[in-house]
Symmetry: D2
Subunit: 311 residues, 4 copies
């Protein structure tokens, strides 16, 4: 059946994906982030790890924070040994404002306040909404929305006090605007994060702060896929509707994030950038399903349309 | 095959459509448009005809305009005989600014300038974009975008000169914002119409004009379906993804249009109202396809997610 | 100065507001909600009160819920004595899932589960974001986002269990999509509510539920204006940029809400309706400030443009 | 008066613009576009010239096309002499499909079909809509919407025939989505271009094509400012509401465009990227005007809010 079979087929990409092969090298020139401090939540795994690795390679001193200290430390060691630049770790549960405050205290003593902030930590799982308890709801929205707000407000206030500028970036998702069933707390919280960042882009420019957003489409990280597509059955149909015919790579998000966080983008604020291989427009457009129509069928249909009379 | 079989199944609605049975009576109280003149392009057929009928029933004197005089005249006679209110017809190809100007001259002599304007005339057909000629492109965009602009600018200028207020409504589509393959000239032109109306909502309020938009989802009119789904193969999959489980009815658009054009909505301007049974959000949300997961499969998936360790 | 002077000028509407005089009668025909139960959070004051009054007049049995029992009771008595239909009150703090659950228990025993649900309760105040504490943030987001989620999930689950359909409506705001400085927790939480409703529109159609949203622009209620424009200095500039030249009236929202909650709108789901006199498009459009250019200045500018050579 | 005075003040940037100083170096590493052919409409002036210069520096062979051959030739010579890479010129009025077809014929013989296509040619001028003639409307929409469509369809078809992939980029504007008064034909046509590109992103991925959009905010080019702000009176108020406190630089758009057109972005399709210093979110957010409130006034307001009782 569809449920069991699909996992077998999961990694078959259509031939046109060949036009869109990923480039995973670091894009910016080394030294772009020299003398800069970058703070990345959830920097120990997945996309956060990729962004940390890229910024570190580009010369930044990085500070990564999340709940699992061991995971953070291992990532830090690995990246640092590759890039030769320091990667500090701070244990922090972003849901807890005091944790966040202590985390920033610690960062201040290690590196000073950051120039680049990336709010990437998140939680998510698929679930029919009628099976969601108030606690299930809060588990996700507390991390994603409150966590991002606590980190952003804490850092913002301290930066303002010191008259320091900074670039803030949040990682949301392509369903933040449209909403999506079966991931409802995540959709709601990510939409909240987007409004938070657009609001502060307008309000805190006067303090030297920029706020931008990346909406990734599906990228195979363990964190995301184990909770969003545990059986693997969903992957094939995602690939089928992604115009570029493949999932994304963490390095592709990392290159975009590095650009947006760099001084090449000082005039970018309040921007929301979708990086999804075209999946969103492909899903949303009402007639895109007609890609299934064959050339022969098109000929038949054209004749039928031509012979239509009247309105 | 899918291509041929689907037409057979086309009208099967899922059981939950029973919760969403259409109400096709006129909603507003009779007399709401007494002493008002309404001008509806494409008023001879489909949605335009339904809106004309509703406004006429509500007391408006209507003027309908399009290319086919006979079709217009027959509609006018039928509606007028039912409602007892005058329905005038004017032949007009909206692509031609002179035609539009003559049409408004004629309307002025028949009824005076309108209080309610509905830009509903349009053309569309499905076609892979690589098969589109410049002429194919222009056929659609000239009617939809230029036609709407010519009608709106001509009426707007005259109303401004006479210091007359008015309500303008444009009928676009749910894919105006997202775009859609296979109906590309229509998507582009309708997006243009939306920008035109939002722009004028801001600019011409000072002259007493309001501008609003309805984006209908799929509604079975001969004009739309014969050129968008000539084989009928598309209908079933549309119904399958519409949360309310059915296509819309012309009378449902007409009731919304009447409200938006009435004095109950004098504070509505620059609004864009989607009326589509939920189709748009259903298509656009990345995980909505999980509606195919059965309760048993959910149990399996929940276990798998629960047993996930680490990020 | 601007700060003190403005309150004096506050209620001057420009002449063109005369074209857009509000109609505050109930729009739908009486009996539209006969045998229906409506549940309105925050139904004791402001817009919630207006919606309750309208639904009650249209035949609904209403249940209103919020924290202040006396306020609720007084409103209930007043409305009920005018309409002759029962208005029940339930004390409930929507931030608390247990409160919400008890509230629904009580409603079930009083009236049974509702056919119409309006999530209208909210909190908000203006504040520079650098002065916001984590508690300030949570005060607003807990009411607006978590409160709406708890009410919606609790009612949704019970309705699903009983196989009952329902119409859900949420009241958000025009800055939910764009974000806005100085009301950042509200902007974030309202954006979250919109994603919640668009998500459930897609997911819970199969259970007979519709989900829609109204985004009101500025409407003078005590609750909103005392916390958003305490000095009154803001009102004039709002009116100056609203194309229809005036603030909205609670009855205008109530008429729209009644339509959206009625069976005339069974094909509306996932819709987001802005009702703001055109304020949003007027603010957002980059060149709308040119409304300040006089006709004479336009002549000068046209000459300058005409004499521009080259690109 | 405001009209005459403003030009004097025009270039004063607020102090916080110091945080957002532009970096105008080429961002990508040289050789990124080696062996690639880039086609840029309107490449002789303004933003088009800047993008051509950047792509040429990065190794691309460029072909630029517009109406004024001399302007093109001078730009081509200047850029080519700086970068050492060929820049070809082709005279072409994009409004005319035959011109476009000849232009592509010529390009094919000079360089072969392009790998990178940038639709940048446009026209615009400020004008109250009641002063717009049908010709004024068509002048702009023919260049912007039809011109972009003709170029895109012609190149797309030929690329498809040869089974060649390509990156398409369109330059639109921040008011494409919101609309804007006083530039209505431009707003409508640019909205149309966005729908065209989002539609083809979904449809033509299968042929190896990507489609993306940049929405620039105000950037001082002669072409734009002479027709949009001929008196200079508008510039100051624009700067005042741009959170980053300054206008953009052509090189900043060029760096973003180069990234989006490069293989680092092969997974980007259907994206719409706003690059506007935050102007859009700043205008659109209802309460952003409160930036004018001083710290002392905030204290007063906080007291008033705190003392508010009831809803
Ligand atoms: N991969 C995709 O397809 C995809 C698509 C769209 C958006 N995204 C977004 O991309 C971001 C990264 O996702 P990913 O795919 O890389 O998944 P991931 O590896 O699971 O990353 C999530 C990170 O968040 C951290 N985190 C979770 N709860 C936390 C808390 N309470 N406090 C602090 N940190 C916490 C986790 O670390 P600890 O467990 O150590 O706390 C983990 O490092 C997320 O924002 C996600 O929503 C991903
Ligand atoms: N039905 C749907 O599912 C659906 C969905 C989304 C949007 N819409 C929109 O709803 C509106 C009505 O569509 P419909 O379904 O009712 O289809 P329809 O019956 O084909 O209506 C189109 C009308 O436009 C008129 N028209 C076409 N070209 C014209 C021209 N050059 N000048 C003047 N009038 C012209 C036609 O009359 P003549 O042939 O006499 O000129 C016809 O009455 C359209 O704007 C359509 O885009 C419909
Ligand atoms: N007026 C406007 O200009 C405007 C504009 C945009 C949007 N809105 C929205 O319209 C809705 C109504 O606003 P309004 O202007 O009518 O203001 P309002 O009179 O202050 O209404 C807010 C209502 O929410 C209730 N509420 C607050 N906290 C609650 C809680 N924890 N639990 C339960 N109920 C709670 C309040 O009742 P208790 O104090 O008794 O709890 C009150 O009845 C809100 O969603 C608001 O965001 C208003
Ligand atoms: N500068 C800004 O602030 C700003 C803001 C938002 C968007 N934009 C967009 O950025 C793009 C470039 O604008 P710009 O500021 O660089 O202005 P510009 O210098 O005036 O560029 C417009 C270019 O379009 C070409 N063009 C005009 N009509 C044409 C036609 N019929 N056929 C072929 N080419 C034609 C012009 O060349 P010829 O005269 O030789 O034909 C010119 O090179 C435009 O799409 C504009 O809408 C600019």
């Amino acid at each position: 059946s569809w449920f069991h079979r699909s996992s077998v087929l999961q990694s078959t990409c259509p031939p046109h994906s060949g036009f869109f092969g990923p480039v995973e090298d670091v894009m910016l020139s080394s030294g772009t982030f020299r003398d800069k401090v970058a703070f990345i939540t959830g920097g120990g795994t997945g996309l956060g790890r990729a962004m940390t690795s890229t910024l570190s390679q580009l010369g930044a001193v990085c500070v990564i924070a999340s709940r699992k200290l061991e995971v953070l430390q291992q990532t830090a060691d690995e990246i640092s040994s590759q890039t030769g630049n320091k990667v500090y770790v701070v244990q922090c549960d972003v849901r807890n404002p005091e944790d966040v405050s202590h985390c920033v205290d610690k960062m201040e003593s290690l590196t000073g306040l950051p120039d680049v902030i990336i709010n990437n930590a998140a939680g998510n799982f698929v679930c029919p909404s009628e099976r969601l308890s108030p606690n299930g709801w809060k588990t996700i929205t507390d991390i994603v929305l409150n966590g991002t707000a606590f980190v952003t407000l804490e850092l913002g206030k301290r930066l303002i006090q010191r008259q320091r500028g900074a670039s803030f970036l949040a990682i949301t998702t392509i369903y933040a605007e449209s909403g999506s069933g079966f991931v409802v707390p995540s959709a709601s919280a990510k939409a909240g994060v987007e409004a938070l960042y657009k609001s502060l882009a307008a309000e805190w420019g006067r303090y030297g702060h920029r706020f931008n957003i990346i909406q990734p489409g599906p990228i195979k990280t363990k964190g995301a896929f184990s909770r969003l597509d545990p059986t693997g059955m969903f992957e094939k149909s995602m690939i089928g509707r992604i115009p570029t015919g493949r999932l994304g790579k963490p390095a592709e998000v990392a290159n975009l994030a590095a650009y947006m966080s760099s001084d090449y983008a000082t005039w970018m604020s309040g921007a929301v950038i979708r990086l999804d291989g075209g999946e969103y427009v492909s899903m949303a457009g009402e007639f895109n399903e007609l890609r299934r129509v064959t050339p022969e069928q098109w000929k038949t249909m054209e004749d039928m349309i031509r012979n239509t009379k009247g309105s």
